[in-house]
Symmetry: C2
């Protein structure tokens, strides 16, 4: 998968929390993002609106995006709405993008490649439609194969959705690589796939195959490396997504986990799910370690560190939140974006020494 | 869905444990099963081979099946292999069945209605292909809606696959209806759908939608009844299917559960998964009650009875197994097929009094 230069469609949604795909593309593929399409912020730069991403321009129309030099090569749908369907009003923009010679990339559950109008138009124009969330057709039921990789398996798990599981894994990769540790990244969601250039969106596969898809990406990313980081999804406590989370946990069978959370959140995110209260972090950790051990009784994985997403707090509040999480869990804690990923890198390295020692001993 | 008269294709697989769809069709739709196709037992009756089902004939070829009076109207694929794909050798038989004027019904993951050859042939001949496992296209992420039904929600859960979750639910329905309690049955697997005439195979839906699909079938089957029984799937401890199980649990949010198990099994069923040991039944119960409470903290459901599948034991061994399970769990226990479902019916009724009392009090 060669990543083109994108204009990112985020009309009405650009910002830190909602346009997750857009924000992550800016953070991890900055030279591939030509512009952001959101008329509310047209004329500003990305850096001015979300605090990172520097001079990437925000434009109000596809025409303005096409006028930039160098010209974008594809349009990326930059949101991941719950349920993943295509907002009707965006259809027109997609058609116009194809007409203007752009490919269209999407991470929605609704596959562009199964839309008769769009596929006919793309075919006639010689353009490509890319569905990041479309799973391979040859998946199987999981059988614990992930245990065959010699790399240590590290899974990011969460108290909830949207708490930094992918970001923590990517920051951890950078931190480990800076210490010359060979590191693989297994993407399990559409944004991770966009960034990594490969992977399987496990929330889009037939439910019988979640653990099978997970072990496949784990084995692929685990080849020739010392540590393989697997992007977690959802939360065991999330009434909409918990099945994906447990299937992924039992597909990876990690020796090591990093818990991701947002300090301010006391219930599951979003109005449809906030009737579920979140417990304290030490209890969240106990639940992940226990659920993992159900299908992995001999060498159960441990949570070794906590990653907090503190972007909605000021500096002082963020430091207090980190201290509080350390006190409750007894584990190294950081916001990997705000305070650096070093404490997590060290905890993962310590666990690797333990696991390697146990294996050779 | 009007259920036709079937010949059931089970070549090389007919028997108690493997041809699950065939055996269940015989038990719950006996007047719809015209014959069983398995050349190994041709000339015998179903009753002679599996101990129930009486005089239904076993035949060696489609020709023999077609010669029976009244003639079958459809061919049913009577197995549910892991992964659910279509054995290559059976393709010919399916084509011959269409040629002979039969419809073809299937519960495989591989959808017949997406097979170009079979669909073309069926269309040309005016025959119907029915995919019991094909999910509706308008599913959504679950949001706890199942809690809106006024019927008490009862879920059968299992220590493993293939331990009688569907059978227990169907026997319980019969037992409750005999006591004039209005009872609904929500099918979540292909065989349950065949028997009930409706439902969604939750293991075949996109993984993000497992709990959403589950709440939909729960609400539908819960209309106008006092108790809605939901067919469970898989096991929290099964490394291949645990995600489906947890998504289903959090979709139903049951007030009441019945644990299904096989006394002899000490590890997860099948050579690909038997590296996972099964704990004692009281521990299995604790796990289900805890995992349910994660997303249902206010009115968590309880396991109220145990259903054992003892068909592989003799009478004395079976009685000992029931006593032992009662001792370990402190709960009423029975093999609903061998010893009757009454103890479970009574436990569910007692729970209903508790739940109703709590609701009105």
């Amino acid at each position: 998968m060669i990543t083109p230069r994108f204009t990112v469609l985020a009309e009405g949604t650009f910002g830190v929390e909602t346009a997750k795909t857009a924000a992550s593309a800016i953070r991890y593929l900055p030279d591939r993002v030509s512009s952001i399409l959101d008329s509310r912020f047209a004329g500003s730069t990305v850096g001015e609106v979300i605090g990172f991403g520097g001079p990437i321009p925000i434009v109000s129309s596809l025409g303005d995006a096409l006028a930039l030099k160098p010209r974008p090569e594809a349009l990326l749908i930059g949101i991941a709405p719950q349920g993943g369907t295509l907002p009707g009003a965006w259809r027109t923009v997609l058609s116009e993008a194809l007409d203007a010679g752009l490919d269209v990339w999407s991470g929605l559950h609704t596959h562009l490649t199964e839309d008769p109008d769009l596929t006919a138009r793309a075919a006639a124009l010689g353009r490509e439609l890319v569905d990041l969330r479309k799973p391979p057709s040859d998946l199987v039921v999981g059988t614990g194969l992930a245990q065959e990789t010699s790399a240590m398996r590290v899974l990011t798990v969460g108290s909830d959705c949207n708490v930094g599981k992918m970001t923590t894994a990517l920051e951890l990769r950078r931190g480990l690589e800076e210490r010359r540790i060979r590191t693989g990244f297994a993407a399990t969601g559409q944004t991770g796939i966009l960034i990594a250039g490969s992977g399987i969106a496990v929330d889009a596969v037939v439910s019988d195959f979640v653990s099978g898809a997970t072990e496949r990406v784990t084995l692929e990313a685990g080849r020739g490396v010392d540590v393989v980081l697997i992007e977690g999804q959802g939360s065991l406590m999330h009434p909409g997504y918990s099945g994906v989370t447990l299937g992924l946990l039992h597909g990876v069978l990690p020796q090591c986990m990093v818990l991701c959370a947002m300090p301010g959140r006391s219930s599951i995110y979003g109005g449809n799910h906030d009737w579920v209260d979140l417990p304290a972090l030490d209890e969240v950790i106990r639940r992940y370690e226990e659920a993992l051990a159900w299908a992995h009784p001999d060498t159960p994985g441990k949570v070794v560190a906590v990653a907090l997403a503190t972007y909605d707090l000021d500096e002082g509040e963020a430091r207090t939140a980190v201290k509080e999480a350390e006190r409750i869990t007894g584990l190294p804690t950081t916001d990997p974006i705000r305070f650096g990923v070093a404490p997590i890198v060290e905890a993962v390295e310590a666990r690797r020494a333990e696991v390697t020692g146990a294996t050779s001993g």
